[in-house]
Amino acid sequence: MIRYIYADELKNHHKLASGMFVDRADQFKTRLGWDVNVDAKGYERDEYDAENPLYVIWENEDGSHGGSMRLLPTVGATMVNDHFGHLTDGVRIESPLIWECTRFCLSRSANGRVAAALMLAGGEVMRGFNVKHYVGVFDARMVRIYRAIGSSPTILGSQGEGRNKISVGLWEFNEDARRKVAARAQISLAQSESWFNRAFGGDNIKLVSQKELACA
């Protein structure tokens, strides 16, 4: 299932969080050879994990980490603006309607459905919170994965060659793309919405009944 967890709540999801940071080390350091920090626990973490980001995580049936990504609003500190300005035409991308999506990570055991499920969840966040675009940093391997899911970004700029290529891209999400990634993830739209509502509170709580109001 999809989980939406802010960094300060990760302490309540130890197995999932630990798996995520270990899988990130495996993906970004071991497999891609990026210059990232891995601590004594084997966790890959950077300064943006300290900004209380919102993680979107695929939790496997046994409670382990299947894949994840990290969201931050571009009105605060972002990797794209701090480190990749040369790939965005020098434009500092900044708006409450644009969020940054980074550290898109898949565990070694993850299948194509997990990547699609994460994209679908990214779409729920856009619909639920009025986000119009994501801007993200990703590696060459992800280009193929995004294409396979049917959710290719618009590439703003790239650096490096071959498997070392790093790109900054933009995503939009419409109803059509939503249905496409849902089909690829084999997850119904209703199921996807229910995971989102579970994380952010349902809509069915009556704040104050009309009767209470009449008395007030």
């Binding site: 802010y6 952010f200 349902g202 104050v208």
Partner: protein
């Protein structure tokens, strides 16, 4: 007798742009309340040290009561939004505790309203603020209101915070946000009457990329939409056509 001139959102924001003290932000909340025809509009700044500050249309007696009771530690809106960055309808918050229920009952008694929508705002150095609109109506009416206006409400909350940051002497001002050459090009062609497709073509970028550049420029200019952003850029002499 002349009918009062209807308020326009861009005019309210223009006023806000000149704001140099809290009273001006207060005036903006009053105008916004009138514009949206709702019970309340509130801007609430919370410090990492728990210090609070703000302005808005709530009954001053409620504000005093809130402070006296230390409700900042009970208020599900503050608890649910602190350290977050997604906007929330109050219905989605946790009102289940006994304290929260009592708080809610009193809030309604003081005329806060039974519905609310809050936008958490992250400023620099751990600064946190909330922009809230509240009203008394049924769920369907409120859902229709927030669906229609939530984009603008998110933007307005951020403008209020930018102003509040700009004139708080103790705060480190945010780095002045200037437009990059690419954003200036995009705004210039728009001001000349080019369509988005023509601008994208002229700049050799995709329309999607252009939309993001325009959106970034709009934010930096404190504008509510593209037309307003172009007008702002012209007025500030950032672009010349």
């Amino acid at each position: 007798m002349q009918a009062p001139k209807p308020l326009r959102l861009d005019a309210i924001l223009k006023e806000l742009e000149q704001a140099s003290q809290l009273e001006h932000l207060q005036a903006a909340t009053l105008s916004l309340r009138e514009y949206y025809q709702i019970d309340h509009v509130v801007y609430h700044w919370v410090d990492s040290t728990g210090e609070q500050y703000g302005c808005g249309t709530y009954d001053p007696a409620w504000v005093q009561h809130y402070i006296d009771q230390g409700y900042i530690r009970v208020d599900p809106v503050v608890i649910g939004c602190y350290q977050r960055f997604h906007p929330v309808d109050w219905k989605r918050l946790d009102w289940s505790s006994k304290q929260a229920k009592q708080f809610r009952k009193e809030a309604v008694e003081y005329g806060v309203g039974n519905q609310g929508f809050s936008v958490p705002i992250r400023g620099p150095n751990g600064q946190f603020a909330l922009f809230t609109v509240s009203h008394t109506c049924n769920d369907e009416m409120w859902a229709a209101f927030t669906e229609k206006h939530r984009r603008d409400l998110i933007l307005i909350g951020h403008f209020l915070n930018q102003r509040a940051l700009a004139f708080e002497p103790a705060r480190k001002p945010e780095q002045a946000r200037t437009l990059s050459p690419r954003e200036i090009d995009a705004m210039t062609f728009l001001a000349m009457g080019y369509s988005r497709a023509q601008v994208a073509d002229t700049l050799s970028i995709s329309e999607h990329t252009l939309r993001v550049y325009i959106e970034s420029a709009r934010h930096k200019l404190g504008a509510i939409n593209t037309t307003h952003a172009v007008a702002q850029a012209l007025a500030r002499g950032l672009i010349i056509v």
